[in-house]
């Protein structure tokens, strides 16, 4: 059910995104940072689901708030002449790798257990 929702969401997003008017290159930094933040939230959510501590409110608030906050920080950075978006990217991507590691380990454990069970049988 959730998988179907994800697929539908992705396809719809791709279609609408391609057909939307092009935005200025100046603001592409904000979009990029928002994407990173959202991806981080998604991976965080997946990790949460796998760990069984997934909180829907936390996920949604994280998804939007992280995106918006990172954009605001990027804007502040341009005003301060400091590339704050780099720090945001470092944090988000770092967390993404952490989450990916957790996900990887989770599936490795799961599959290795399955293999063991199969061997026992």
């Amino acid at each position: 059910m959730i998988l179907i929702a994800i697929i539908i969401g992705c396809v719809l997003g791709a279609i609408v995104g391609i057909n939307l008017p092009i935005i200025s290159y100046t603001y592409s930094t904000y979009l990029a940072i928002a994407i990173i933040a959202a991806l981080d939230s998604v991976f965080g959510g997946i990790t949460g689901v796998l760990k069984g501590e997934f909180d829907f409110k936390v996920f949604i608030s994280g998804f939007f708030c992280n995106a918006i906050l990172s954009m605001l920080l990027t804007y502040l950075g341009t005003k301060l002449n400091v590339d704050i978006y780099l720090a945001a990217i470092v944090v988000f991507v770092g967390r993404m790798f952490l989450n990916l590691t957790i996900i990887r380990k989770y599936y490795i454990d799961k599959w290795s257990k399955k293999f063991e069970e199969m061997k026992k049988k």
């Binding site: 929702a5 969401g9 609408v16 995104g17 092009i22 935005i23 200025s24 290159y25 979009l31 959510g45």
Partner: protein, 241 residues
């Protein structure tokens, strides 16, 4: 299906939708953006571009200034060439004027000196006070006139210049000026302040002295005394420069 699960599903779908939407927007932006085009550049890139253009501009300006300076120099040189020519011509005219190689005209006096009419007869007598005007007297007169600021002098149309010679020929009536024979009556023309010129001769008692010799001396003041140029040869043979 639980109500909560539907909400979660929809929300996750929405989140995916937004995420993919943004991602594709970004893809499109990056794909379609010509990074080199100026209106797509970021502020920093524009700054660097601007500064590079500025330095280029400054360089060009410097070059322009340099070239315009040289151009100005050349122009000045060329115009100064014309000027030098003019200056030289002016100087030449001035020098000719100073040397007495041009006819000149101006305020001055004309002095007419006449020997006593019966001097030939008087000379036969032994004691007489009458005298002819000699070359040395003419030199004295010329010196008096020069002293009082005469700018040009001529005696019987012989211009007095630096090469002028006064020579008495055998104590006779003839005097050579500029190697030309002249004889009384003498017409001495001088350009200058006529009062000063007159005073130089009268005030020093020279006129009285001459009159004592039986000379008649007349002064004529005129506003346009004309003095002819020196006719002799001004070339130098032995001077080397």
């Amino acid at each position: 299906m639980k109500k909560g699960k539907i909400t979660i599903t929809i929300t996750i779908g929405l989140a995916c939708f937004i995420l993919v939407l943004i991602i594709f927007m970004q893809f499109k932006v990056i794909y379609q953006t010509d990074i080199a085009s100026i209106d797509m550049m970021r502020a920093e890139e524009l700054k660097t571009e601007l500064s590079s253009w500025k330095s280029k501009y400054e360089e060009a300006e410097e070059k322009y200034n340099e070239i315009s300076k040289t151009l100005k120099k050349y122009k000045e040189e060329s115009s100064s060439g014309v000027k030098t020519k003019q200056n030289l011509q002016e100087e030449l005219a001035n020098l000719e004027l100073l040397l007495g190689l041009t006819d000149v005209e101006g305020i001055g006096i004309e002095i007419i000196l006449k020997d006593p009419e019966n001097i030939d007869e008087l000379e036969k007598e032994k004691e007489h006070t009458e005298q002819r005007i000699t070359a040395s007297e003419l030199i004295r007169i010329v010196n008096f006139l020069k002293d009082s600021g005469a700018e040009a002098i001529s005696i019987n149309n012989q211009r007095i210049v630096n090469k002028t010679d006064f020579a008495q020929i055998n104590d006779t009536t003839y005097i050579k000026i500029n190697s030309q024979m002249v004889s009384a009556p003498f017409t001495i023309k001088a350009i200058g302040d006529s009062d000063y010129l007159k005073a130089s001769l009268i005030g020093t008692g020279y006129v009285t002295k001459i009159k004592d010799w039986g000379q008649t001396i007349d002064f004529k003041e005129s506003k346009n005394i004309r003095i002819n140029k020196y006719n002799g040869n001004m070339d130098y043979k032995y001077i080397e420069n």
